[in-house]
Amino acid sequence: MRSFFAHAPFRLYLGILLVVLFIVLGGIMPWFAPTDPLTWYTAPRNQNPGAAYWLGTTSLGQDVFWLLTYALRNSLILGLIVAGLSTIIGVFLGLAAGYAGGWLDRVLSFFMDALLCIPVLPILILMAALFGGQLALPIVGLLLVIFNWPYPARQVRAVALTMREREFINVAWFSGESSVRILVRHIFPYIAGWSAANFINTVLVGISTESALAVIGLSSAQQATLGTMIYWAINYQALLAGRYVWIGSPVLAIVLLFIGLFLVSSGLSMQSAARRMSV
């Protein structure tokens, strides 16, 4: 590990710093919230940032900082689970389709193509309407996974198709490797970097799709997510009223989180390239 970090480029450090910051904010800080920040009037309304309320309070008397930690927690969980599941499923099915070929490939490819053609948001809006105007996060997550796995799958399949022709795959087979081990140990590393990038992008897609739903009032507004935070802020005209911290903090959180993840992934890929190239 030490030698690994000794060469880490600056962007990797910065990215890790940001990601750790958000993990602390969303993963650890919520445990320390003095009161449930979702409850209204636990604080005076419309306070500016200050010593007592670090990021001020909302028009509903909620502490923006603690609300943000709760929102981050839920959004992070959603984003990470959606990204994790769809990347894992996508990569696995993509590898399987590309490597196995035949009817499996055809069936999987059809589903990939079909799902890619269907725009998610109208479906989510439809489902939201069906679920009585509010979609619980798990359902949003599930739908996002269903509609997002084809992205990595299609890419991975294409890579796997070319990989199948590569000689070292034959060598691996003659080394007695099973199909699964060939997929995992020999083909996967070639798409790992790409998968990481996809993962990061999907984190963002997850978080921002939920935000979009929330903003048009189709997510359950009583849950704290970055999206519902924006929803409430807009509902109370935070932007026009100049309560920039309230509306700005979730937006900035999304942006910084993405930047953090982006820096980590690009930093890591530079890192691993350097490690493999170094003599």
Binding site: T39, W40, Y41, R45, S59, L60, A129, G132, G133, Q134, I216, G217, L218, S220, A221, Q222, I234, N235, Y236, Q237, L239, L240, A241
Partner: protein, 603 residues
């Protein structure tokens, strides 16, 4: 000369916010077809009803009719005199033939959604002379003017020009561009339905408005939609909008900050007009346990801190009401204040007196301490402003009631009588009715605080009303039957009759709370037979309201505050608290009377 973006001189154009945002099918103005929206100006400026409403006095007035209907003894045959000297916008005179034609057309065209409903009430219309019609009803109808004219918002009975419609199939006729009867005629529109332009008729003298008020000043009235609330607010701030329909108090705050010419109903606190004819509260499906027990409902009412809920909803700019009718200026005088004494003495079964007359005083203090100015010091003035009082916030009594009703509480967790955990799900509007929506969250916050886990389930209009009507809910935040505008409460109170109760799953047209109260139903039956101008009306109404307090099928909370700002940059003499010639209901049919009284600002 400054022009609007639709090409009219700005100084001669009155720009009005469109109630339901943009219109998807702008080239259909057949008001008898389902799914045709006409509140883009036709409803407010171009059409006219037989009877309209004077919202300041709370009485109906004749419009196309020359006077109120004259009934026979048993209220089944009426003489309706029509206004003389009116012409349609194409110059044809308006006569009894148009009314008769309209009557026949509705009755004979089942494809019109209104047909069956109309025929169920009106048996026939016959022509007496060119300006008199005789109306026969299917059953005694003491309130014919309500059946054929507007009390709230409007009425489906629109007289159509015979010479135009007789050539068309009313089921498919698009009525575009429409021939109008009132002082404005159709001028231009946006194919995407975001705006509609109406122009003053040269022959405005031959219209209802011309005869009743005189020449309207605006040469053009532009109805337009700016979409989301932020945009509507920005539009008015930028002087691109003269009259806005409902917005939130925060938006009004911003507007006042941005543009000194913007004002609301009151020039100071609470800014909003408090005379909306429907009040908001939390209602129950009383057919579902545990809400079928009045004690449960009372406990939940006492678990609410109404001051906090008021601030949470609209920053306290609301008038509280413990009664089942809105605390409007007219009704406060007729019911709320006279009933205050009874309310103070009212006791629950166990003798507990729940009423708290000092609600307004405490809220006033609290608001003052938060720095709100313009709060009166005098307790009576405060009660007049913020309501005669409300139920106490008494968690102990609430606990007692719940325990009495068979609930249990172990370790802070409430269990229903059947032993399952007590959690509440409040059905709330998602994208409309911001006050009901916020009220739901505010009440949920209170109940959560009390210890009952409460969720707000927001639904789009379609889903929301389906759930309401089919009884697919336990508690909801909306207005239900709690509407009234005149001292005669029959119009909506009728809805509490047990006859309208339907099984859960079957849609109900009214009494969605499925509330069965024999005494209440009996009172409604009595009221049904009493005409609107009978002096008994008020005492009957009072009895009905008492009945509703006892049973508490709805936790009535606040009159609706309408933040309906106007911009005085181009036009003045809008109605307001200081200039109360009409209520600020821009989206009702009587808006044309308001528009006719606006004055241009000398630039």
């Amino acid at each position: 000369q400054q022009m609007t973006d639709v090409g009219t001189p700005r100084a001669e154009t009155l720009i009005v916010d469109m109630l339901n945002a943009r219109v998807g099918n702008p080239t259909n103005m057949n008001m008898y077809q389902q799914g045709v929206t006409i509140n883009h100006g036709y409803h407010q400026m171009a059409g006219a009803l037989l009877y309209d409403i004077d919202t300041a006095k709370g009485v109906q007035i004749p419009d196309l009719a020359a006077e109120m209907p004259v009934a026979n003894e048993d209220f089944t045959v009426f003489q309706v005199a029509l206004r003389e000297g009116l012409t349609w916008s194409d110059g044809e005179p308006f006569t009894a033939d148009d009314v008769i034609f309209t009557d026949n057309m509705i009755r004979d065209t089942p494809a019109l959604g209104y047909s069956a409903a109309y025929a169920a009430q009106i048996a026939s219309m016959t022509k007496i002379d060119d300006h008199t019609v005789e109306v026969t009803t299917t059953k005694p109808t003491p309130r014919l003017a309500i059946v054929l004219g507007s009390v709230i918002y409007g009425n489906p009975f629109h007289v159509v020009p015979k010479h135009v419609w007789e050539k068309e199939d009313p089921a498919t006729f698009s009525n575009f561009p429409p021939v109008s009867i009132s002082a404005y005629k159709f001028k231009d529109y946006d194919p995407n339905g975001t705006w509609f332009l109406w122009e003053k008729r040269e022959d405005w003298q031959n219209t209802d408005v011309g005869q009743m008020i005189g020449e309207p000043k605006p040469q053009y009235v532009l109805f337009r939609s700016y979409g989301t609330e932020e945009r509507r607010v920005l539009a008015m701030a930028a002087n691109d909008m003269d009259i806005l329909t409902d917005i939130s108090p925060e938006s009004l705050d911003i507007l006042r900050g941005q543009n000194p010419n913007v004002r609301a109903w009151f020039s100071g606190f609470p800014y909003a007009n408090l005379d909306d004819p429907c009040e908001r509260g939390i209602h129950f499906n009383t057919s579902k346990a545990p809400y079928d027990d009045a004690r449960t409902r009372w406990a939940l009412a006492l678990a609410i801190n109404a001051e906090r809920a008021s601030i949470a909803t609209f920053s306290g700019m609301m008038r509280a009401s413990p009664l089942g009718i809105p605390p409007t200026t007219v009704l406060m005088d007729t019911y709320h204040q006279p009933m205050a004494e009874w309310l103070g003495e009212f006791a629950l079964e166990d003798g507990y007196k729940p009423f708290d007359p000092d609600y307004a005083v405490r809220l006033g203090e609290r608001l003052r301490s938060e720095g709100v100015t313009d709060i009166p010091e005098d307790p009576e003035a405060l009660r007049e402003l913020l309501g005669v009082g409300w139920w106490k916030h008494d968690p102990d009594q609430a606990t007692k009631l719940l325990l009495d009703a068979g609930f249990t509480n172990d370790g802070g967790e409430w269990k229903k009588p059947d032993g399952t955990p007590f959690t509440i799900n409040i059905l709330a509007p998602a994208d409309f009715e911001v006050q009901s929506q916020r009220l739901a969250f505010a009440v949920a916050n209170e109940w959560n605080e009390f210890g009952i886990p409460t969720q707000v389930q927001q639904m789009q209009a379609g889903a929301f009303f389906t759930a309401e009507n089919t009884g697919d809910y336990e508690t909801g935040s909306y207005w239900g039957s709690s509407c009234a505008i005149t001292p005669d409460l029959f119009v909506r109170m009728e809805g509490w009759h047990k006859d309208y109760v339907r099984e859960n799953g079957v849609p109900a047209s009214s009494n969605q709370g499925r509330y069965v109260d024999d005494e209440l139903s009996a009172l409604i039956d009595t009221l049904r037979a009493v005409p609107a101008d009978d002096p008994q009306i008020v005492s009957l109404g009072t009895d009905i309201l008492k009945e509703l307090v006892e049973g508490l099928p709805v936790i009535e909370m606040f009159g609706t505050s309408k933040f309906v700002p106007v911009n005085e940059t181009y036009w003045t003499n809008y109605p307001s608290a200081d200039n109360y010639y009409e209520g600020p209901w821009w989206w009702w049919t009587n808006f044309k009377f308001i528009a006719a009284q606006l004055e241009p600002v000398q630039q």
